[in-house]
């Protein structure tokens, strides 16, 4: 293992180091801000290292093979970069979330710091998954993410002062996710095992080379791939493996929801790209058709489910299902660099927008929580207008806190794929990809899906601009969002508009990497 290889996986090393440091720090000197600082610092270092490694990948060395397990190349580094940035955003969200729910001085002291450790662990898993060039690492990364996610999903339980119902929901989501994802993991493992037994190797490149001699139609192999695909589809919550998504998203603490919706999916997409490219699975009609069917189903089912949904977190969950559906369309056009570009761009759009959405929802809820704790309002989740996760809570938001509402509106429009936002460019990419691949049915699905999607996005949007005739909606008062939160939302909106109006910038970055 040469020094160059070590340098190549610098991001991983930094994250790991960060985890260790954070562990020590927490065990000696607890401190919420401290933990946050360390996390962000680590992430920033990792990001810088990513750039640095990219700098090294010049000219002939387009990629570095680290042992048999990892492969570092431009695409994977870009994914890392993206996910680390996401992680920064999530840690900020987490800070605002935990600030209100944990107090170390309480009767049964509840400590927020672990959240960050878990976050970093998840990131470690994610980056491993992205770099993975071997089933062992793939498996490792995937599990690392999941294992970190279980506690994060249930994290509200530790927050003593957070509302009881919230705690219960969080716990429930954790258990549900655990059981289901355990099953999917097992299935995936089984699939890997079959592939292994068919090809006799766990190394992607080796398998690829084997595939040539062992006939494509080897049942074992095909079955294995299918099973693997199923477990991946589960992680991506493609229909028909989407069913866990809304419950988990709704129950989990919003930062965790954001994490699972962005990093969880992003990393898997990254892996999928590499896996399909290395094994050249775009060739096999069967898999493509399978994915296509799943994609169409996701677009339609996701949007239909969201149609009448009143709980915003669930709504976003459903919409994320459909968005992954759109993304798959871009994914399907194969190994052409344009396909990759389209996938990446859409992913960026998806992540930025989803993050933004959840950030707003989470922060609004936090602000509401703060009002409650400070005793401004009696806490009651029965009335819809009082439930910060309910549509009604947002009635007339534009008139109460214009900036926040405008940002949220931007997010929604981006989700709906309206111009001036990054979402539109993403959709444009999808369309281009679809036309290039001449996948008219899929395109039809996208159109229908988008039309359905418009309905609920717009309804939410229009609820925000309603003149609030009823007095009691006023009583929610102006929501004061923590500065860090404001900063976060502003940044995301900025990115959303910037890349929406001047996409070339982002495109250049993608192509540069």
């Amino acid at each position: 293992m040469s020094a160059q290889e070590l340098l190549a996986i610098l991001p991983l090393l930094i994250i790991s180091a960060g985890i260790v440091i954070l562990l020590l720090q927490v065990s000696f000197w607890r401190g919420h801000r401290g933990a946050l600082a360390t996390t962000i610092l680590t992430l920033l270092l990792a990001i810088i290292s990513c750039f640095w490694v990219t700098g090294n990948l010049l000219g002939d060395v387009s990629s570095i093979q680290v042992t048999a397990l990892l492969l570092v190349d431009h695409t994977s580094l870009f994914f890392c970069l993206l996910l680390f940035l996401t992680a920064v955003a999530i840690s900020i969200m987490g800070f605002n979330y935990l600030r209100l729910r944990c107090d170390p001085r309480g009767v049964s002291a509840s400590y927020p710091e672990e959240f960050y450790i878990l976050l970093l662990l998840a990131m470690l898993g994610a980056s491993t998954l992205i770099f993975a060039n071997h089933f062992a690492t793939f498996f490792l990364g995937l599990e690392l993410i999941s294992l970190a996610l279980y506690p994060m999903l249930g994290f509200a339980v530790t927050g003593e002062i957070s509302p009881k119902s919230e705690q219960l929901q969080s716990l429930e989501s954790a258990i549900k996710y655990l059981i289901l994802s355990a099953l999917s993991t097992a299935l995936g493992l089984f699939g890997i095992a079959l592939i292994y037994s068919a090809s006799g190797s766990l190394d992607f490149n080796a398998i690829a080379s084997r595939m040539t001699e062992l006939s494509q139609s080897s049942t074992l192999f095909a079955t294995g791939i299918t099973l693997l695909l199923i477990s991946v589809a589960f992680k991506l919550s493609l229909v028909p493996f989407h069913i866990w998504t809304p419950d988990v998203y709704q129950g989990a603490p919003t930062p965790t929801t954001a994490l699972i919706a962005t990093v969880g999916k992003g990393a898997v997409i990254g892996f999928l790209l590499r896996f399909f490219n290395t094994l050249d699975l775009f060739g096999s009609e069967v898999l493509i058709d399978m994915l296509a069917i799943a994609a169409i189903a996701s677009m339609l089912v996701g949007n239909l489910l969201a149609l009448m949904q009143a709980n915003i977190k669930r709504l976003l969950a459903y919409s994320s299902i459909s968005h992954i559906g759109y993304l798959i369309v871009a994914f399907l056009i194969g190994k052409s660099t344009f396909g990759t570009e389209a996938v990446i761009y859409y992913l960026v759009a998806y992540i930025v927008t989803t993050l933004g959405g959840f950030a707003v929802v989470g922060l609004v809820a936090d602000a509401n929580e703060e009002n409650m704790l400070s005793g401004k309002h009696p806490q009651e989740f029965l009335i819809d207008a009082k439930n910060p996760y309910h549509r009604e809570f947002y009635r007339g938001l534009l008139w109460r806190s214009p900036w926040l509402a405008s940002c949220f509106a931007a997010m929604l429009l981006s989700l709906a794929g309206i111009p001036l936002t990054i979402g539109f460019i993403g959709k444009f990419y999808v369309f281009t990809a679809g036309v290039e691949g001449q996948m008219w049915i899929l395109l039809g699905g996208v159109v229908v899906g988008s039309a359905l999607g418009l309905f609920y996005y717009l309804r939410l949007l229009l609820i925000m601009v309603q003149r609030n005739e009823t007095a009691e909606t006023n009583s929610n008062g102006t929501l004061v969002i923590a500065t860090s939160g404001q900063f976060l939302i502003a940044t995301l909106t900025g990115a959303l508009l910037l890349f929406g109006i001047f996409p070339q910038i982002l495109i250049n970055w993608i192509n540069a990497l």
Partner: protein, 105 residues
């Protein structure tokens, strides 16, 4: 160096799949969370078994290595799971999974 597929492989696949299906069945039938976790274990182990068989078939160690991985994973998973179940029991005084349906719609 692949030995041309011995009958052992098919048998192994068959056994593993049966095992997996058993686990799956248990998972769907049991309402007690603990038992469900056990069933998951069975599924996982079915996969692990498959690895061992394949490893033996190809005559290389990767299978065993994966097996270790799997076992470790299972342990970790169960640890967390039990913690959660404990919390669950604290609050609901039951381990019946069907009580866990507050989130729906």
């Amino acid at each position: 160096m692949p030995i041309e597929t011995a009958p052992g492989l098919e048998a192994g696949v068959l056994l593993a799949s049966i095992l997996f299906c058993l686990g799956l069945a248990g998972l769907m039938m049991r309402r007690n969370v603990i038992f469900m976790l056990m069933s998951v274990e069975i599924c996982t182990n079915a996969a692990a078994l498959m690895f061992v068989v394949a490893g033996a078939h190809w005559g290389n160690a990767d299978g065993q290595v994966m097996f270790i991985f799997v076992v470790t994973l299972a342990a970790a998973e169960v640890a967390i799971a039990l913690a959660l179940v404990l919390q669950f029991y604290h609050r609901k005084h039951t381990v019946d999974i069907d009580q866990l349906n507050e989130l729906r719609g």
